[in-house]
């Protein structure tokens, strides 16, 4: 009886403390999401809502002139996800492992690794844009001075190198984040497993592959799902470096950038398409929601119990 009373009291306080956070989520996430969903079913003239349009906006998204931009942006998002998952996650594991194995200077190296993550994204983007400037940037200047002229490209200016360059900048900025998550994962592994393996004569490589990596699965799940969400909602870096059109020539156009362009228009070409933009927003939400849910379920089912 007394326990039930204490439980009720605790639940009451838990509800009270959760209310502000729930209110913020409802006001700033749920309501805008539901509103965008509703916008997708109406016709628009600028910012004026007209009559009900049914699924017309979704149909327009898959026809000219939006179709080619949509498929190109989707392709870029998929490529970015694969590249970041493979390269950034692998590097994150290696850096996390290096931090795990460090005997001295943990705090210093952890700070150095994580520092780019806390930089303002806009500053990072402009810094790299200045460094990679084909006319005035130090990167090309250095490459020319050591006679590696072939590598002194217009990295952000060429349609073939712009997207990989953005992936590199993203990697530079974000690799510290999975590294810290994986470091936490390594630290959470029971050291008895490692010691037992050493006693049995396992090498460091074998310990890493057969014990540490499998037990790192929960961290991998988190990083993979976050990478998926981040890759399909990628907006900030392409916007800052490529503008609303994902310059050069749409080479870094993404679904989120296309959503912004459709919803708010672009300079000089004036008009916007809120209906089609909202339809795209619904599509992005669906891709991310479904992908994250099923991906999370699948990866969790493969996690090894220690």
């Amino acid at each position: 009886m007394a326990r039930a009373g204490i439980k009720r009291e605790q639940n009451k306080y838990a509800a009270l403390l959760l209310t502000p956070a729930l209110a913020v989520i409802i006001i700033f996430t749920s309501i805008p999401a539901l509103t965008t969903l509703s916008y997708a079913f109406f016709r628009w003239k600028g910012f004026q809502r007209l009559g009900f349009a049914g699924i017309e906006n979704f149909q327009r998204l898959f026809n000219d002139p939006f179709k080619s931009y949509f498929y190109m942006a989707l392709r870029h998002n998929v490529l970015v996800f694969i590249a970041i998952l493979v390269i950034q996650t692998s590097l994150g594991i290696l850096v996390g492992y290096a931090l795990f194995k460090l005997k001295r200077g943990h705090r210093y190296f952890r700070t150095v690794v994580f520092l780019p993550v806390i930089f303002s994204l806009v500053i990072v983007a402009y810094m790299w844009q200045a460094m990679l400037d084909p006319f005035y940037g130090p990167v090309n200047y250095l490459l020319h001075s050591i006679h590696w002229d072939g590598l002194a490209k217009t990295w952000l200016g060429s349609t073939s190198t712009a997207l990989p360059t953005l992936v590199f900048i993203n990697l530079w900025r974000w690799v510290g984040f999975p590294a810290i998550i994986f470091l936490a994962g390594f630290n959470s592994i029971n050291t008895e497993f490692i010691e037992a393996a050493r006693i049995d004569g396992a090498s460091e490589g074998q310990i890493f592959r057969k014990i540490l990596l499998p037990l790192l699965a929960p961290s991998m799940t988190i990083v993979t799902i976050l990478t998926f969400i981040g890759a399909f909602e990628w907006f900030d870096l392409p916007y800052v470096l490529g503008g609303t059109n994902g310059n050069p020539a749409g080479a870094i156009d993404t679904l989120a950038l296309m959503f912004y362009r459709l919803s708010f228009g672009s300079v000089d070409s004036g008009a916007n398409e809120i209906g089609v933009g909202s339809a795209l927003g619904v599509l992005i939400f669906t891709i991310v929601g479904v992908g994250a849910t099923f991906g999370s379920r699948y990866l969790r089912s493969r996690e090894v119990e220690a």
């Binding site: 003239k45 600028g46 910012f47 217009t154 060429s158 059109n245 310059n247 300079v267 070409s269 004036g270």
Partner: protein, 427 residues
């Protein structure tokens, strides 16, 4: 005793926390709230000019003007969002023609009369049309300047390259570009990274290929289409110029491209008169010449593309209507327009303004005999997708070889025909 001390400590802490919030907030408030109007623009590069003008206005009327510029690429979205939310500035710069149609039709702007702004009576009807509504034909804006496209050149670099006479035909223009390139100078500062810049480049060089005013009248009436072979030729002319763009032109942003010309690295820049103030801000001693775009062949007409660049409008929901109208009249005054002509290189819409910049004088003289509308901007931005929203990224693909001029023409025709009735159903 202990509880009393705790209560006192808590009270002191609360008072200090409250003071930490209240004091800075109170200090940030103005001592006296004088009449202030807000004024937005898409020209951050003109901030110094507008702030100086605002100071003159305040000295004369006591009304302060808070000038807030936004980057041009974000201005449309910021303004539209603010106005739709029922906020926005008291006075603002607005785009011309279709660029403002959605906003004006939604009732965001105060309709101006000649009683409110007498200067409107002296502006030509064709210029006034640039800031009239689309469905509601009221006068919503004061057109402030005529913009002109053409070819700006650096006479010193041309002399260095051994070019003695300015090219007048397409062939001689390409030959001049080759000569400049051979002299180790960048022929063109333009790049394809700034999509609107590509449309403006076409706007300058295109009319001689598609047929200027005749074609404009025909296509607006629906008697010709964007797939007309002459129109396609005008798109191809832009592709032909890409060979003279700087290396890495796909990633060349607007300011860097203009900077190449301003810093005397490029001999030519194809764009509008509004670039001149930016060139001079980077390099006050820059020697700039202007010429109309070359004719497609000897004997053909050279055109000077021009349009009402934009306007100043008053927010229909302003709470400072009288002050805003006073400011509007200041913006329409000869004093302001003269200052704009001198500092920003404007070609003002009101008469009696003396233009002193030699390049701008050339443009002003060329308009009466050679003027032609900026076809895509004037005629085809009233519906979606606009011709510009297809042409701008389309040119970027043409520049990289990802699309042909013919395919771009077809895409523009398909897009515009979806809403522009005279062209509907025509391929």
């Amino acid at each position: 005793m202990k509880n009393n001390r705790r209560r006192v400590r808590g009270l002191v802490a609360s008072l200090l926390a409250g003071a930490a919030i209240a004091v800075p907030a109170l200090m940030a408030m103005p001592a006296h709230a004088a009449t202030e109007i807000t004024f937005w623009s898409w020209r951050p590069e003109d901030k110094a000019f507008y702030e100086a003008q605002a100071a003159d206005f305040q000295a004369a009327t006591g009304i302060s003007v808070k000038f807030t510029p936004y980057v041009a690429t974000e201005y449309n979205a910021i303004l539209a969002t603010a106005l739709t939310a029922g906020k926005g500035p008291d006075v603002m710069q607005i785009r011309a023609y279709g660029g403002m149609a959605n906003l004006s039709d939604a009732g965001n702007f105060l309709a101006l009369t000649t009683k409110d702004v007498p200067a409107l009576a002296k502006i030509p009807a064709g210029t006034l049309a640039g800031t009239q509504g689309y469905t509601n034909k009221s006068q919503f804006g004061l057109p402030y300047a005529t913009s002109v496209l053409g070819v700006m050149y650096n006479p010193d670099l041309l002399k260095k390259a051994g070019i003695k006479a300015l090219p007048t035909t397409w062939t001689s223009f390409l030959a001049a570009l080759d000569k400049v390139k051979a002299a180790g100078i960048l022929p063109l500062g333009n790049g394809s990274g700034y999509a609107p810049g590509m449309e403006q480049l076409w706007g300058a060089v295109g009319p001689t290929w598609y047929g200027g005013n005749d074609f404009y009248k025909q296509i607006v009436a629906g008697n010709k289409t964007f797939t007309d072979k002459n129109f396609i030729a005008s798109l191809q002319a832009v592709k032909d110029l890409v060979a003279y763009f700087p290396a890495g032109h796909e990633g060349l942003d607007y300011n860097t491209a203009r900077g190449l010309f301003a810093n005397e690295k490029a001999a030519f820049y194809i764009g509008g008169n509004y670039e001149i103030s930016y060139f001079r801000s980077l390099n006050p001693s820059l020697n700039v010449g202007w010429m109309p775009a070359p004719a497609k062949s000897t004997g053909e007409k050279r055109y000077v593309t021009n349009w009402a660049d934009g306007g100043f409008a008053i927010n229909a929901k302003t709470t400072q209507k009288a002050a805003a109208i006073k400011f509007m009249n200041f913006l329409a005054s000869k004093a302001f327009m003269q200052a704009a002509a001198d500092t920003l290189g404007w070609i003002p819409t009101i008469s009696g303004i003396k233009v002193t910049d030699p390049a701008v004088i050339s443009m002003q003289r060329a308009i009466p005999s050679s003027g032609t509308p900026f076809l895509t901007l004037v005629g085809f931005r009233y519906g979606t997708p606009t011709s510009s929203s297809i042409m701008q990224p389309g040119f970027q693909k043409v520049a990289t070889g990802a699309q042909t001029a013919t395919d771009l023409a077809k895409a523009i025709q398909t897009g515009v025909a979806s809403w522009y009735k005279p062209l509907t159903g025509k391929a």
